[in-house]
Subunit: 306 residues, 3 copies
């Protein structure tokens, strides 16, 4: 049973190819002296003229910051679209090697904007919000580069779902995680898809039923995040992981990531058949051959990212 | 793809509707000065005239106590039936908001009564025991209210399975958990269904193969339970969780619980389609609308539990 | 729905019956004064005349040692075949009760031999390596006896996969675990099948994307292994578990192990139907009856291992 060529693998399951359609005027202005950018794009998603996400990319690392602290970085439809745009921007460019998602201010994200979910906005709008949100959450595993959540503060409801949906999550010690929808009569059923697959059943249900927050240490203990550090080391530790990923071949990482998510939902026999073929395909890639040759010759590999 | 209305959701998968058929004479006498009850029912399941479970309900919280300490609260067929009766008693009544299951004495439950499993009782009786037990374990996730195991002591075999099958489990520090069937030539294969879904594979198998007990701290570390407290705070902590759950809308919690167990066995794509629809349905519920309105108006919500 | 008799259960899913075909001359010489063996077999898999695994069995406990420390116990095709042979050797003999797999030297195993995966060896050879490896990993859960990984050092790539594929894993505090294939352009996609099923999603992906090692304590915290001990207690602790397993009926353990892996991939309803029947079958076994009788009579059971 032959596995499909890896390049097709992470586009599978009916997702559209990652063609980023440039909208509006091109702009490359600096977003501030502290965030010098190599590549930037116009913010097409705005709320009252304010950009809801900031994005800059430097030496292969794309930073996306949820940037609406006045509204606790609520995942409004505008915010979700802005986030999706920043994620998909020029995603096929091999210069991009890893994405980091963070939040401006003390709240990573408070989840959906409840004002968008009132009776007035109507069911059609509600469905649009949840569909867009689910699309982003399921998009993350399909991206050809790893996505790291960098959390420094509170992540609740769909904000907690976003953390749970990234490949890797690093959090400062002061961070907290909760699914408090039940307090406002809206059970966190969509966040539960991601949270319930990251935490042991009972821990997830206690969170969902009580709405109470979990500390970063508890989140690490139970598997919701992969690393906890003191706040003053959050940037350094997240970048350390990003730099480590940047040392590898993008093509190999893309194949590995796509294969991981594919096989993890299969039974073990199928998973081994699929991955054994993937290993053979990986070895036949330019970077697969280069890596092995370099190892045997005891030299540093030089990646072509193909 | 439209999701079914939530009210039907937790009755799905072929389970019978939760109609409690009152058997025997009605009684509402106190079960002792320390357990004043709002609602009590006659104990139809007895062994030698002794009631095997105690049940009382107060302000929305139902307490069920396995009450056969002389036999280490063995899950005999009588005990299982008594437990099922107390669980299902008037379950559709919206006054009921959460169930707590505990054990009288130093043993939460020692699992099946081995005397019922001897050669003499016969295969038909054995099957009746396991079927009844499995029915209760699979009933718990289908109930419209959360179920908390309150463990203060040893929980072994089917007793450990009962803990693993509740939605939430709080244990005192002295509690221990084991699946020791292998010691008496009866591998804990039914307990392994619940235990194997709560613990990492290797931890579960070491427990099952050696029969040795795990401490409460280990059980928390590995996800079998959701919380550990000193013995003198067990009651307080369990009630704190129960009270928190009681603050929410029963209808919203019921929808959330049913949806959680439904989606967790689905692939992620299906899970998001189902839960996105559930979120829209949740918002259309009376309590969904009330919760959002109250939040926007910065007032306390007033639930109708519908 | 009747479950198949247990004896057939662990042979299910298309695996061949465990017939060990004796190859080459019979030999029973001691492999050294420190490892007196009851049963030993000729090493048919050699590399340059050197045996790649050592195997000895004493009082029901089979020890298999990856014995190529000069090559960091690389899982070359020869090593894999030698390992498979030692695992399957006389596997149907009821004298065998538990298998312990360890590694000679400071590295448990470094995974595949990269020299075998160069362009020169060719795709056909590559596939043979991965197929043989996957065959062994999926063989372990199907064996009628528990398999314990005893890790004292570094376990990487397919070496980490081997640890993750055993039923139980005990490690010394100094042990480390990594999936560093990405460093040499070969993503650990086959190891990810086992590692991804043992660790929380994010922890597994951070390991796979960075290639960085995890400590034994982290591996325990996250569920990759089931026990960590100081190095000087590794032998004692591993044997303690093995001795505990040896006290039980082999037939009961075999049924329990086969059933565990069968039910864990099923939905809960099916799992309970299958295991309820298995419990009844277990009780009908000679050792099932003996165990219950002995318990009721308050005497030690005497197993026939059937």
């Amino acid at each position: 049973m032959a596995a499909p060529f890896w390049g097709k693998l992470w586009r599978a399951k009916g997702s559209p190819p990652f063609l980023w359609i440039r909208r509006g005027a091109s702009g490359n202005g600096s977003r501030g002296p502290d965030v010098p950018g190599e590549a930037q794009h116009p913010a097409s998603a705005t709320e009252g003229g304010q950009k809801l996400t900031r994005m800059w990319q430097k030496e292969g690392i794309r930073n996306i910051v949820l940037n609406h602290p006045q509204k606790r970085n609520a995942l409004s439809l505008s915010m979700l679209r802005s986030l999706r745009e920043d994620i998909l921007h020029d995603i096929e460019n091999t210069d991009l090697r890893v994405i980091i998602i963070a939040g401006e201010g003390p709240v990573f994200s408070s989840g959906h904007d409840l004002k968008e979910l009132s009776h007035k906005t109507g069911e059609k709008h509600h469905m649009e919000v949840f569909k867009t949100c689910a699309e982003i959450m399921t998009l993350l595993p399909k991206l050809p580069v790893p996505v790291i959540a960098k959390v420094n503060g509170l992540a609740t409801a769909a904000g907690c779902q976003l953390v749970a949906s990234c490949d890797i999550a690093v959090a400062s010690e002061k961070s907290k995680f909760a699914t408090p929808g039940v307090n406002v009569g809206l059970f966190c059923s969509t966040p539960a898809v991601a949270v319930g697959r990251s935490l042991p059943r009972k821990v997830a249900l206690e969170m969902l039923f009580t709405g109470e927050p979990m500390t970063a240490q508890e989140a690490l203990l139970h598997g919701l995040i992969s690393r906890v550090v003191p706040e003053d080391r959050l940037e350094e530790e997240t970048l350390r992981i990003a730099h480590k990923i940047r040392e590898s071949s993008r093509a190999v990482v893309a194949l590995g990531k796509a294969t991981f998510y594919k096989q993890i939902e299969q039974d073990i026999g199928t998973a081994y058949r699929v991955t054994s073929q993937v290993m053979v395909d990986n070895l036949a890639m330019t970077d697969g051959q280069e890596g092995i040759e370099a190892f045997i010759s005891k030299r540093k590999p030089s990646w072509s990212h193909s």
